[in-house]
């Protein structure tokens, strides 16, 4: 914890909300205050398009009286507003229903060593605007050097610094600082009525770990031009290879299905199935909030519960739902340190990598589809059904043959998890919810 004057005033405000809440008659109070600074620049065709810079503060709290809960949030931090919100919340709580699971967690004696998590890069606040703008311009310039690229959605460089403090009437008091930065570019290739588009983004907590403009530009170009002149295919059931970005959304959907809120609400097909085999032996999934430098790491969750490492699936067997205190009490399980605002969020939630390289996975496939992008909604956690618009690369004889568009993929998450034939070695934690390349034995790809 960096004891800056800024952090001190945030801690002071959070503690004040807790004591005011108690004075107004609440049994329990928990307050979070955050202070964020953002910088973002979008450039397009060699010029600045948008430049945004701002600092803002935000508070949120809950009060519990007679096991009845009321919440409030505000970006107006004036004392008069804060006092009114607290009074209103205590009055509102009285109108609620008694809920025996409501309440703050018991304070834990475990303490996470915050500096060892490497959440904050001291270089980020020191970066001047000019070099950040130059990085975005440079990335787009390199991408546009490729003559196959016909238009640009622009390049962006973004930094965020956030201080989060949390105080509870259970005695919890903590704070941590985080930084994020990202460099991205979006491109189009092809002529007006036959265009394709894609982008690449590099995200990291540490400025020095960002991919350089050359790499970001090259990946965006490659991802865009490989889709040029797509073909339609006929409707068929074939092996489908998910690129890591695609595994990310599949794993994200699985996260929604193991969230204990969905479980007690019975809005997930995994409700009541703890200990059952859901996927095959290739499916081992962890949630880990303590991985140094990773995007989803944090010392404690939004209730002040220390984050840890949870095995969610072990070789296909569902071992654990991810809980906050409330949903945990509903299911008679301990919290896993996944509280996020009023719901449940992932820490670093990832599918364990295997041994195969992405090239080996493609080479193993006689005929099939490499899924490169999906668009649309079409995920139903109640049933596990999936149906989405898809883009990909057709595989013929173990090699990429041609791009494919205007297809949809459809299946069921449980069936998919049972058909994961190969798992790649290319897990890179580019997103807090992630996985490597995987190969699914058979999925319906609808085309002509």
């Amino acid at each position: 914890m960096t004891e800056t004057p800024r952090t001190d005033s945030l801690l002071g405000l959070a503690e004040r909300i807790v004591s005011l809440g108690k004075e107004c008659g609440a049994d329990e109070v928990e307050a979070t205050v955050s202070d964020g600074r953002e910088f973002s620049v979008d450039v397009r065709q060699g010029q600045i398009e948008n430049l945004v810079e701002a600092g803002s503060r935000f508070l949120s709290f809950r009060v519990i009286k007679d096991q009845k809960t009321a919440h409030a949030t505000s970006s107006d931090l004036q004392d008069e507003t804060v006092q009114r919100l607290i009074r209103n919340a205590v009055i509102r709580a009285a109108l609620g229903s008694r809920d025996e699971c409501a309440g703050l967690p018991l304070i834990s004696s475990d303490k996470v060593d915050i500096p060892s998590l490497r959440l904050f890069d001291p270089e980020v606040p020191k970066l001047e605007a000019a070099p950040k703008i130059r990085l975005a311009l440079e990335t787009e310039r390199i991408a546009l050097e490729d003559k196959r690229i016909t238009n640009s959605h622009g390049a962006s460089f973004i930094t965020n610094e956030v201080t989060t403090v949390l105080a509870g009437s259970n005695g919890f008091l903590g704070s941590y600082d985080q930084t994020f930065c990202s460099l991205s570019v979006g491109l189009q290739a092809g002529e007006t009525d036959d265009r394709v588009e894609d982008y690449w983004v590099s995200v990291d907590r540490f400025f020095k770990n960002l991919e350089p403009p050359e790499t970001v530009a090259k990946k965006a170009v490659e991802r865009t031009v490989r889709q040029l002149h797509p073909r339609k295919i006929r409707t068929q059931t074939v092996p489908v290879i998910f690129e890591p970005g695609m595994t990310d959304w599949l794993v994200g959907f699985l996260f929604a299905c193991v969230s204990a809120v969905a479980v007690y609400q019975k809005t997930t097909f995994l409700a009541g199935r703890l200990g059952e085999r859901i996927g095959n032996e290739n499916i081992t999934i962890m949630d880990d909030g303590l991985m140094p430098g990773r995007l989803g790491s944090r010392p404690f969750d939004s209730e002040g519960v220390p984050c840890g490492k949870t095995t969610v699936f072990e070789q296909g067997v569902l071992r654990r739902y991810l809980c906050n205190t409330y949903a945990g009490r509903k299911l008679k399980l301990a919290t896993t340190g996944n509280s996020d605002g009023t719901g449940i969020g992932p820490n670093n939630f990832y599918l364990l990598p295997g041994n195969a390289s992405p090239q080996e996975i493609i080479a193993s496939t006689e005929r099939g589809l490499v899924l490169t992008r999906t668009i649309g909604h079409g995920l139903n956690p109640v049933t596990g059904d999936i149906s989405r618009g898809a883009f990909g690369l057709w595989v013929e004889g173990g090699e990429i043959a041609y791009p494919v568009s205007e297809v949809t993929i459809a299946g069921n998450l449980e069936q998919i998890l049972n058909q994961v034939e190969m798992v790649g070695n290319d897990l890179d934690f580019r997103s807090p919810v992630c996985g490597p390349t995987i190969k699914i034995g058979a999925l319906t790809v609808a085309g002509e």
């Binding site: 007006t192 009525d193 409707t235």
Partner: protein, 471 residues
Amino acid sequence: MIAFEDHFQMTDTMRKKVLELALSRGGDFAEIYAEYRVYSFINMEEDILKETAESISLGLGVRVILGEKTGYGYTNDLSFDSIGKAALTAASIADSKKMASLPAFQRTLLSEDRYPLTQPAHQASLQEKIELVRRAYLSCQMSDPKIKKVKVLFQDHVQYISVVNSEGWAAEDARPQVKLVCTAVAEKGRRKEFGFSGGGGRVGLEYFGQALSPERIGREAAEEALQLLEAIQAPAGEMPVVLAPGHAGVLVHEAVGHLLEADFNRKKTSIFWDKLGKQVGSPLLTIYDDPTRPSFRGSYNIDDEGTPPSKTLLIDRGVVHSFLQDRLSARLMGRPLTGHARRQDYTCIPIPRMSNTYVDKGQDDPEDILRSVAKGIYAEKFEGGQVEDSGKFTFSISAGYLIEEGRLTAPIKQATLVGTNIDILQKIERVGSDLSFGLQTGTCGKEGQEVPVTDGCPTIKISRMTVGGQS
């Protein structure tokens, strides 16, 4: 009409000072957007009132434009010092010494109020709102023993915005917004399905006594879940698709509306950029975006740049007629303002957005349209969709029916429609006379900004479309 409340207390002299700071490095245009919003929220599930919340969003953003560049700074600390800092941040995109002279502010008088209501939700007691929630909840729960889980959410907010700019324009709006939604889970054996319904708009609580009762919202959510329990998988492949009136407007929103937003056309990333005045679709197709429809969720008295909006003809009998404009694009493209600049909140730069988008009614009898299909699908309810600038889009059907020999037969569930917009627009074969609008609950996302919208359409037949189900 809701009276405007000023939570900023900035005098014209202060506003002028801020705009002068914003233009101190030679920008073409500067603007102050001040916003105060109070939300309330009620959640009922597991037969209890689980949670209530109150939220306040207060802040102010300063924007400077120079040529095609935009600078933006915002703050929720209302000291003059912080506001001045935001203005200087916005100014940093400019780099000349040129000083603009500011005209006196002209207050815009609103000609019409699009929020005709009698019982503003933000002034109603929490008990009244809780009662609406309970009524929807019980109606859903009692509809059938197979309904195993009900969740009802009520949300309302009032948003006060004021905009002043360096051209001397000053405008204010006080916008209400109400939403009551119900989700149901029905179970039969091991099978479980979701149902959803809801309503609201820029209305007061009188809406739930007149336009749509909480009981109906609850019942409709239950009915959708029960229908899906009996649903089969949609077939996969290319086939005729009939869009049901109302909800299917989301197809138009996704496949056409987004690509007619001016920013994508100014940047030539939309496939429509060179098609103004050109025939792109069936002559049966006419599309409007209309922010002036009274009480609609997507409506407003002024847009988020202070411009009074107008009903905008987008596609006229298959011909691209105009784009949805904000100030920046309108100026750079030399086109008139349409009043479609919107922003999620004070932290965001305004961009061209849709409001209430719909296909105008046609001539055909909806029954005749169905009778013309030997085998296809009837797309009734949608979860949403997505489009790329290249015109490729997808949207997800959550409920519908098979069409066999001109009649609706088995209910179907979860399927995805994909296509390329111009291709689909040309394949519109029939347009019904039965225009209606979807639920007043929708939200549209663009560049990370969410704004309330509605969509509408009559019954429409598309001759062939790729449907993704499980074969």
